[in-house]
């Protein structure tokens, strides 16, 4: 939706025009663009009745770029995500010096949706900032796991020697 190659200025104007042509309906009333890949392999499932290996089911697309986004200023909609990922992602994206602004919102509590707004300085796109944030969170998880296991071992030794 947001072409990366264009300069910011052009795209801002383009987006303005595009915005009008795009559906003005709230996201909940826009047509769902989900691919129904999950429904196709119904017949296949029956054969592996006794085989508990989980088939790598194609997940429906849960992230989308909201209308009116430009390369350096974009809003993303996440389906089936909430404060858990929203706030953590917001934190780690805000830690990126190339990011001018980042915030998340849950537009309505009855809808399982979470929006993230990212505005970046020149030199990095909002999508790149989002990807970096998600990578950083995964690395962070590894460090916490590592430290937690070390602390657990330390404590067990301390208790054993006491």
């Amino acid at each position: 939706m947001a072409p990366k190659s264009k300069s910011t200025k052009e795209t801002v104007e383009d987006a303005g025009v595009e915005d009008v042509s795009m559906s003005e309906a709230p996201t909940s009333h826009q047509p769902n663009v989900e691919d129904d890949a999950s429904m196709i392999d119904e017949g296949v499932e029956k054969e592996q009745e006794y085989d508990e290996e989980e088939e790598p089911e194609e997940e429906p697309q849960r992230v989308k770029l909201l209308p009116g986004s430009t390369p350096t200023a974009a809003s993303f909609e996440f389906i089936d995500e909430g404060h858990t990922l929203g706030n953590a992602l917001r934190y780690v994206i805000m830690k990126n010096p190339d990011v001018e602004f980042c915030a998340y919102a849950i537009p309505h509590p009855s809808e399982p949706k979470m929006n993230i707004r990212i505005q970046t300085w020149e030199g990095i796109t909002a999508i790149q900032a989002l990807e970096k944030g998600l990578k950083d969170l995964q690395e962070l998880s590894d460090v916490v796991t590592e430290k937690f296991l070390a602390a657990k071992k330390d404590y067990a030794e301390r208790v054993a020697s006491a």
């Binding site: 858990t84 990922l85 805000m94």
Partner: protein
């Protein structure tokens, strides 16, 4: 611009707690917040700043401090522990007969809330999610790897051995009370390999009262257990409690001496404030506030972790301007009480793994979106 001093960095970490207000609540360690300072996300900086210390580690209760993370991360782990770590619980109850006074639906609800334990390997790796049957089909998707069968069959009868004049129903009748231990696990398929001996599927607490009966009444039902998550129903939550609090800080700014010191100590839970004697050196030091008080008692902070931050000390005029209360914004004291299916520390580890998996999946989604 010179980098901030260690004292300044320490000061920034403190949330101030005043008599009626709380200030400096939000974290400020973002790039661009302080001129000339960087605060950029860096894994090695995070690694060197992160500290984890255990206070207690038992299967049903673990407490530890995670120091050096932001509230958003700490809170993500807490939320995942409560709502996203899967457990096995009774999901369907087939009632063949229930002549007790407790209604079918109430009984089924009570059964659902009973926490169960079993072989860890079987629970975490062998058992899988039960898939919802596809719409319009009567294929129920029940297999040994996604369903655990239980039964409960009790009938209340008179106890002929009861003493004359006995009035206690539990002695007068057999099965006057139905307990969780009366539930029988029925292995199917390969479940015997995983759930036998000590690893059998059984209630964590066998003494949970399910219903009360009188002679002639009976309960006869079978149950299906499935894996689920706490966001669907609280019965699937692996924890009774998963919470954190910030480490309290108590700064004594000016000496609190003599009877005041004893009163000060009583403003806090036991063990938080200790009473020491003013030493000769302290008394000799000019401007310390201890001059001429050698040998008197003074209040010192012994163990701020035990404080409840009641703010009682801020209500007394004699301590005004002498004490500053606060909490450390990046020191999270977790308390996790497992409901029995997982070890408490394993729940936290699982929450980290879950968090990582969440981020990984969304990253893939973002890549798909761009494509």
């Amino acid at each position: 611009m010179k980098p901030p001093s260690a004292a300044e960095l320490e000061r920034r970490k403190i949330v101030s707690i005043n008599a009626e207000t709380v200030t400096d609540v939000t974290s400020t360690d973002y790039p661009g917040h302080y001129p000339g300072e960087d605060h950029v996300w860096d894994l090695e900086t995070f690694r060197s700043g992160l500290r984890i210390e255990f206070h207690k580690n038992e299967p049903l209760e673990a407490s530890f401090s995670v120091i050096g993370v932001d509230a958003s991360i700490a809170n993500a782990f807490r939320r995942i522990m409560i709502a996203d770590v899967p457990t096995l619980a009774i999901e369907t109850v087939f009632i063949n007969n229930n002549t007790s006074v407790i209604q079918d639906e109430v009984l089924a609800h009570r059964l659902g809330l009973i926490p169960f334990k079993g072989g860890r390997e079987g629970l975490h790796t062998f058992l899988k999610w039960k898939k919802k049957p596809a719409e319009g089909t009567d294929d129920n998707n029940l297999f040994d790897y996604n369903t655990v069968m239980l039964s409960l069959n009790v009938e209340c009868t008179h106890n002929e051995d009861a003493a004359e004049g006995e009035t206690d129903p539990n002695k007068l009748y057999r099965h006057a009370s139905v307990y969780a231990r009366d539930i029988v696990y029925e292995p199917i398929g390969r479940q015997g390999q995983y759930f036998s001996g000590d690893d059998i599927i059984a209630p964590v607490n066998p003494d949970i009262l399910i219903a009360k009966l009188r002679p002639g009444q009976c309960i006869d039902l079978t149950m299906h257990m499935h894996k689920g998550v706490g966001s669907d129903h609280a019965k699937f939550s692996p924890v009774a409690t998963a919470s954190y609090r910030l480490l309290p800080t108590i700064d004594i700014l000016k000496p609190i001496l003599g009877p005041d010191a004893e009163k000060f100590a009583r403003c806090f839970p036991r063990g938080v404030i200790a009473l020491d004697k003013v030493t000769r050196q302290e008394a000799a030091q000019e401007g310390s506030g201890y001059e001429g008080h050698e040998g008197e008692l003074k209040a010192v902070v012994a163990d701020p972790m035990r404080d409840t931050v009641s703010r009682e000390c801020l209500r007394h005029a004699e301590f005004e301007d002498k004490v500053k209360l606060g909490r450390r914004r990046d020191h999270f004291i977790y308390l996790i009480e497992s409901s029995g299916q997982w070890d408490s520390d394993a729940i936290f580890l699982e929450s980290i793994a879950h968090f990582k998996e969440k981020a990984r999946k969304i990253e893939q989604q973002v890549i798909n979106m761009v494509r």
